[in-house]
Subunit: 342 residues, 4 copies
């Protein structure tokens, strides 16, 4: 029996991806999608790729009806404000904002600059990354989304962090312009943003809090650079290990920790062009590709990961987490393999 | 009961798209994929997006076994040479090269510069564009592929041409770099090709023969310009009509002629950014989007169409044609809606 | 003796190019540059490429002092409103907006939708394209700028139009995102504009008025498509000639009409990659490259031209026109040859 | 009195930049440019931006005549083989390959895999980076070129390294496709290279030898990622300092060490889009822009630098070094400020 899902805040890029995925999900039916900006317009007015699919009109957030699963794709700090109302509307709530990702209200305040609006709700949410929280998700009612940059870093480092092999690590991500959502500014104006290699967060990026929480390591140094790309995050993590480990041991470790993971692919070839993860062929997919290179006579291990920020870094992980929570086949609606060339 | 399909020449870009589509097609099973260059390697060595899907090794063309449907994704002039052999291997043959697109051997010679290698086979093939040949495809055994540029032009102009409304037309396509396949040269070297606006065929492009054949109009002037894009063809067709027709009549005509077409979308909005067809949101899809603008006080009607050259312009139309030929639901394996933003 | 020049409205893209050119012009000294938005800030805050050059602060338009040559780089309709004031400030005024390009106030009203604010000034301005108006410019006091798209078309067609060889012509331009200036919107937001092939003006573009005026032909059909490019205009003009002329006659004609022109290059090679004009290697230069291809057994001649819209299509032509007006060597400050690869 | 210069190997990208710069250099005259591939063709056949400049034909390397200054723009290992011959042809030789960059033949062998062909010549060459070797260059006869990646790193770190402030550093560069020269392959084929974020050297890049030599630090960890860009190198250097230094102290240090440098610009703004160095606005210029961000409560200092790899990273530094060697004004022929927008 199909479940009824609704989306609060469906006109943004993450909302658009959610709609795309849910339209083709056999176990759910989209009941309502809200948008204040596009009120009364069709979903394909905001998401032109959805033209010709099922006709859905954006409704007002005030008109939202009870449903089985409610997705929140709202700006940060908005979901927390009304979380009581949302949880009365649906048994299951999946919030894609940053509001319920951190478990510690003090950490939240440190990174987001103000008190959390609903601190008692923080521990009712499960962080929506099945690779790290599959069991909790299976019995969850409320799921938080994930930060896109955090996800690229967390999945790159998880096997090392879990086994406490890291002394310290410099994680540098290269990101596309869709990460900023659909709010435009001079910074996103095409003549300025095109061809940019912009150090927009050399230090002090909020996603660092999610990395520290999920990896439980403190010596993590993070930087983010925007490059010419629309979709995609690529992480280069320079890990300084406690000990000099051979490359084949690293292989074993990653194989073991990610065994059976439907969306993790280890990518490390000696020939060809795609020897390491490459975000461009992941566009539209839920994969996280991971590779690595060990520097000889050194404790540095370079781990490389790539995701689509709107998919594995947002809507894709959310749908995957929903599948886990609802007991559905985990890959449902997420089997698009990506395109090449692109 | 699933049908066995094999692909001769599966390491090129069109071959890669075919494999991607057929891997997810519920009515077929891929039996063999051949490649001389990648012999013995895995399909994902040529098509990195297919990593983690079913493991298939490229085999030699010599080892090809009988099957139900045989796809040929070979360089031009290669399929025709061995067509007798291929048709003994499979009841159904779908050739994606230019070898069997033209019905008239003399026209073939004019545009391809030499005698056709198998002229008696020309009229056993049906041109693989369901919008124009659905009935013949339903009873076909052999299907030719389509030219990507020709398809963008043909679908843009078909309603006008069928109704003999065109006096003469200038059709100009903007194309991406994947149109040239995966053979590299200085012309495709990234520092040279990047950002190019290259008039590679201001006159005298071979696809013109397919336009004249399918549209049955002679006064068609064609030019092609390569732009910064990997996938996609966008056609701007400046039609000088015999009479000055009002825009709403054009609407009616296109609606009528393309009624019920699963992959034609009329795109003509007065607001928003995506008012006319846009190839970027069609990447990976089988859609042909069509829009138009009528110039006031003039006989010029500008018709705009967009496709993904590797999909609707090649592998997508081939799979759609296969679906028609085999009596399967026409959209099977072709329902990817495309991505936005991208 | 150097002349004092000032620029009203120097924070836009055209203003930035003007400053760049004038900073290195040996015969002029920049006296003032105004900007309301960047008031009190340095020129390099708006134009980061000018960091480390002469330090200039933006001043208020109200504080503008008398000077020898005054450039106006203002939004359309603004220059005309205050033209009386500007002409008292400087003996020479060069206006880069569209306000004084058209000689006929009725034509202006038709295309710009309202009465001209200073119609008596229209015939005091000379259209700032030296290739067509060198003599008038030499004795001019007031110069209008040129439309970037109009310039690509006008220079492509001028030799044909002057000799009345054209029956009708379809001129299609492909343009970069800088053409829209630095005002941002969702349409220019990088995730939307990136990779676009956008038919933003399939019919009815204002620059058509400048083409008709300068070429004195009526049967000109114009369309504009935005592509993935920041700087550059490329025009493909499909000319239907009154008679079928051989290609070598076309050569002779263009050579004769453009003989000695310092910024016109004929580009028509049989080998290599750059056989026809290519806007990317013109970035930062004042060249207009022109090539052509004659269709056999047809009256169609395809003429291709390329310019940098901010240079030959705006600031470059303005400085070139200034050089002519002031009796200076015409190439002064305009000898940058462009980059390759780029 | 102008000096006669010739270029051996002038058809590559670095050779093209050299020609472009030398054509406009008032103190030199280009005598000969050699190319085996383009023998007998014009310089603009290889470098289309130079069309319309002085007509120069490529000659054979065998026909090279004595001159004042000889530039070698040859593949690695070729210059060293014939260095005896070249030094008899000209009093001054500037070699842009990697052959004479390293002073220690053993280090050369370690990184380039074979014995150096002319080890006795190694200490006759001066490393062609004026910021580090101005005095030696002033009295040099022979100058080596610089590695582009090494230059971005060396100039970023020099003030810190000189003052022995670095404990260890992770230097990560993002590079454009022109770094690989004009040799094409599937890896540089546009559909593959376009949009790539390719970890082509996560460890073990040869330029590391130049960094260690010039900075005299051993704890340097280097990685290189190719991104969507034609020209440009951007370095993000994560420096772990021996002590926690305040940001204003870093400012002072960089200001002091680079005082008076004509091509170093410190870029560190609190507002605007271009707060940190950005390679795109450096295209065609000889600038190295440097900025930094200090992480609070941490010993990490992130230093960011950007250059044009073909200019400051190759031909530009070579011409600047020539100017120093010849006693000419150091900025001669290098004053192009770059473009914006681009």
């Amino acid at each position: 029996m199909t479940k009824k899902v609704s989306i609060i805040g469906g006109s943004g890029y993450t909302g658009g991806e959610l709609i795309r995925l849910l339209l083709f999900h056999p176990n759910v039916e989209i009941q309502q999608v809200t948008s204040q900006r596009y009120l009364g317009k069709f979903v394909h007015n905001a998401h032109p790729n959805l033209r010709g699919q099922r006709l859905i009109k954006f409704t007002s957030p005030d008109q939202i009806q009870p449903c089985d699963i409610l997705f929140l794709a709202l700006p940060h700090k908005t979901a927390a404000r009304d979380i009581e109302r949302y949880t009365t509307l649906a048994e299951h709530v999946i919030d894609l904002s940053a509001d319920f990702r951190l478990r510690d209200a003090a950490v939240y305040k440190k990174w987001y600059g103000e008190d959390h609006a609903a601190p008692t709700w923080l521990d009712r949410f499960v962080y929506g990354l099945p690779e790290l929280h599959r069991e909790e998700l299976a019995s969850a009612k409320y799921i938080s989304g994930v930060g896109c940059n955090a996800t690229a870093v967390n999945l790159a480092l998880y096997p090392l962090a879990k086994n406490q092999l890291i002394d310290h690590v410099v994680a540098e991500v290269k990101v596309g312009s869709s990460e900023g959502g659909n709010s435009y500014s001079l910074a996103s104006h095409h003549p300025e943003r095109s061809g940019a290699v912009r150090s927009f967060a050399p230090t002090t990026h909020r996603h660092q809090a999610e990395m520290q929480q999920e990896l439980n390591i403190s010596q993590i140094y993070f930087s983010a650079t925007a490059i010419e790309m629309v979709r995609g995050v690529m992480c280069t993590a320079h890990c300084f290990l406690k000990d000099d480990i051979e490359e084949k041991e690293v292989w074993k470790l990653y194989r073991k920790e990610y065994k059976g993971e439907p969306f993790i692919r280890l990518v490390k070839d000696n020939t060809g062009i795609y020897r390491f993860p490459e975000p461009k062929i992941l566009q539209g997919t839920n994969y996280c590709d991971i590779g690595f290179a060990k520097e000889k006579n050194s404790k540095r291990l370079v781990v490389i990961s790539a995701i689509d920020n709107l998919m594995k870094g947002a809507a894709g992980s959310a749908v995957q987490s929903m599948n886990v929570m609802m007991g559905w086949e985990e890959k449902t609606a997420l089997n698009f393999p990506g395109l090449h060339p692109i």
